[in-house]
């Protein structure tokens, strides 16, 4: 009926979290190859992760590094070769060059275009289909109307993010390392994984200002401060014909995916069963409590990403 998916960057996250609400798991952190035991950069971890996901009856999608430089290409190609020996249900690709690599390797593994693939139009979706892309993650700046148009006018599935922080920027260098105190190992270019602690960029807080801008920084990726939330709009999403939904889990606590997933599983099952206008208050209360900076809708309703518009 529908697929609910999320992400887990390494085997520890996969073991420690509750992923029972999900049909599929995107394995790996596409933003940082240095992240500990990251599936996206450790070929020797792929089999273990894949088997654990499969043992739970879920699909396993492998995330490839989003911004490989020329220097990264050799190890990325080795990882792809190792992954092709396994039975992943899809690869998630953000980089158009890697799409070309997969085509040259004559890979038959379905490809999902990731958030930094810059998918804005149905014409791009049609082009990418020729490179083996079967599903796209639309650029977060698109409205629901624009996403629906792409879904209706291209031979490709659309993954709709429904909850979690919005990926806004990706970089090939680590912002946290660049600004680490000289006394710490990171200052010498040796990563000691300071990103395991929560890092935030904020302005306008603590002074009564209304310009409350906040961003979460994970080192090589910057995310929205607020958690995007569409639980109030589940009926409408189902009516629009969407069937693949995603919860963003990067940088969150171990219990985040489980608690959010359970809520969306319930909300979507009700919506698909035609039980409209569910009372979302308890869900919103719990989701709000999980979010340090509050909730937003992203760009789905044609406003700034950090705004929140309720069902009524």
């Amino acid at each position: 009926m529908f697929e609910l998916s999320t992400d887990a960057c390494n085997i520890k996250k996969l073991r420690d979290g509750d992923f029972s609400a999900y049909n599929a798991i995107y394995l790996g952190d596409f933003s940082c190859p240095e992240y500990p035991q990251n599936f996206s950069s450790n070929a020797n971890k792929l089999k273990e992760g894949l088997e654990l996901v499969k043992s739970r009856g879920q699909k396993a999608y492998l995330r490839l590094y989003a911004v490989p430089s020329n220097h990264d290409m050799p190890w990325v190609l080795d990882l792809i070769d190792a992954a092709l020996e396994l039975s992943f249900d899809a690869f998630e690709v953000h980089n158009l060059g890697l799409l070309r690599v997969l085509q040259e390797k004559k890979s038959t593994v379905p490809v999902h275009l990731g958030v930094f693939g810059n998918l804005y139009t149905h014409e791009t979706a049609k082009l990418l289909k020729e490179y083996g892309v079967t599903r796209v993650y639309p650029n977060p700046e698109l409205s629901l109307k624009e996403i629906s148009y792409i879904a209706d006018n291209s031979p490709i599935d659309v993954l709709l993010p429904v909850h979690g922080k919005i990926p806004l920027v990706i970089s090939e260098t680590c912002f946290i390392m660049e600004h680490t105190d000289n006394s710490k190992p990171c200052a010498n270019g040796v990563c000691s994984f300071p990103c395991l602690e929560d890092h935030w960029l904020k302005r306008g807080r603590d002074d009564g200002s209304l310009n409350d801008w906040s961003l979460k920084d994970t080192g090589r990726m910057t995310l929205s401060g607020k958690d995007m939330c569409l639980v109030e709009h589940a009926d409408m999403l189902v009516a629009e014909g969407f069937t693949a939904f995603y919860v963003q889990n990067k940088g969150e606590a171990d219990d985040y995916a489980g608690r959010v997933g359970a809520i969306y599983r319930a909300a979507l099952e009700r919506a698909f069963a035609g039980q409209k206008d569910a009372d979302c208050t308890p869900w919103l209360t719990e989701l709000g409590a999980l979010s340090q900076e509050g909730l937003c809708n992203g760009y789905y309703f044609e406003g700034a990403g950090q705004r929140y518009i309720g069902r009524n």
Partner: protein
């Protein structure tokens, strides 16, 4: 011979850079380029620039590098066809689907990939070549050796900015949506064209929120002085002979959103430097160092003023949106 391509953010600027010896000028079509309307040209102005360039034997590139809505694609193609009929020799494009359609429709025009394509490696270049790009603009941070390798292996035209980021920081543009996350508005004009405030990718100005002062906190405790979160690129010159030797085909002068006189002076210096490089196997560029320093300082001053204006607009828009939702 390497082509120097300079900006025409206004009609006046476009004429000035052609007068100063740029081989081509690039102009943004109103509503279709990664800048606000003040740095784009109307239809009449674009037509005028084409006539002016043709009279001098130079070329015009039209910047249509927004990432459009799907429903805008027919309008996009109609516009590109019109500019080509007026004499535009090439276009700068970001959306790869639109890029392929232009190649199918106009086999003989040059297609320059926009910085919005966010290239990071040589396979990206080959992908873009395969779908019809004739010039691929490389990111600021590639070394001369990487440029040479890409040129050798891809055979595509190589374009580089006369602009480099000195250190790390966030990738921009092509992989950044910070501006529109805080301030974003969309409206349709009478012709059904989408217009956006707050998103460079979609045709407005990036509101430069990265250049305001941010508190960096770990576990809710501040551990750094307030900081900006992106380093700014700067004009460069010293490696120019090496880049040209590596096979660079097109040098892009930045500055569509700067003053016409500053851009004119930048083109004047680079024109002389390029001529010197092409006249000698061992060109001495040291006489240009002082002039370049002055230009960098002027650039920094103008950038600061523009950034402050845009950040103020972002703050105002955010405040308005918050009041509206309270």
């Amino acid at each position: 011979m390497v082509m120097m391509m300079a900006p025409g953010g206004t009609l006046e600027m476009a004429k000035m850079v052609l007068d100063e010896g740029a081989e081509a000028v690039y102009v943004g079509a109103l509503g279709w380029s990664r800048r606000g309307a003040q740095d784009e040209l109307s239809e009449d102005e674009i037509h005028h620039v084409m006539d002016y360039a043709a009279h001098l034997g130079r070329e015009v590139r039209v910047v249509v590098n927004t990432l459009p809505s799907s429903i805008e694609i027919p309008m996009f193609l109609e516009r590109v066809a019109r500019y080509a009929s007026w004499g535009a020799r090439g276009f700068m494009i970001s959306d790869v689907g639109a890029m392929r359609l232009v190649r199918q429709m106009l086999p003989d025009v040059h297609i320059h990939t926009s910085v919005g394509c966010g290239i990071t490696n040589y396979e990206d270049v080959k992908f873009l070549r395969d779908i019809g790009a004739t010039y691929v603009v490389l990111p600021y941070r590639l070394t001369v050796a990487e440029v040479e390798k890409i040129k050798r292996e891809s055979g595509v035209g190589i374009e580089v900015f006369l602009f480099k980021t000195p250190s790390g920081g966030k990738i921009c543009p092509g992989k950044c949506m910070m501006s529109s996350y805080f301030s974003f508005r969309r409206w349709l004009d009478a012709n059904g064209k989408d217009h956006f405030f707050g998103s460079a990718s979609r045709g407005g100005d990036c509101l430069r929120v990265c250049q305001t002062q941010w508190d960096f906190k770990v576990n809710n405790t501040g551990f750094q002085q307030p900081m900006t979160i992106k380093t700014n690129p700067t004009l460069w010159l010293g490696e120019l002979p090496a880049y040209i030797a590596a096979g660079v085909d097109c040098l892009k002068v930045p500055g569509r959103d700067r003053s016409a006189t500053l851009v004119r002076d930048i083109v004047r210096v680079y024109r002389r430097a390029l001529d010197r490089i092409q006249e000698s196997d061992h060109p001495d560029l040291s006489p240009f160092a002082g002039e370049l320093e002055i230009l960098r300082a002027r650039w920094g001053t103008e950038r600061g003023k523009r950034d402050n204006r845009l950040i103020s607009e972002a703050e105002k828009a955010t405040r308005g949106a918050l009041v509206a939702t309270l």
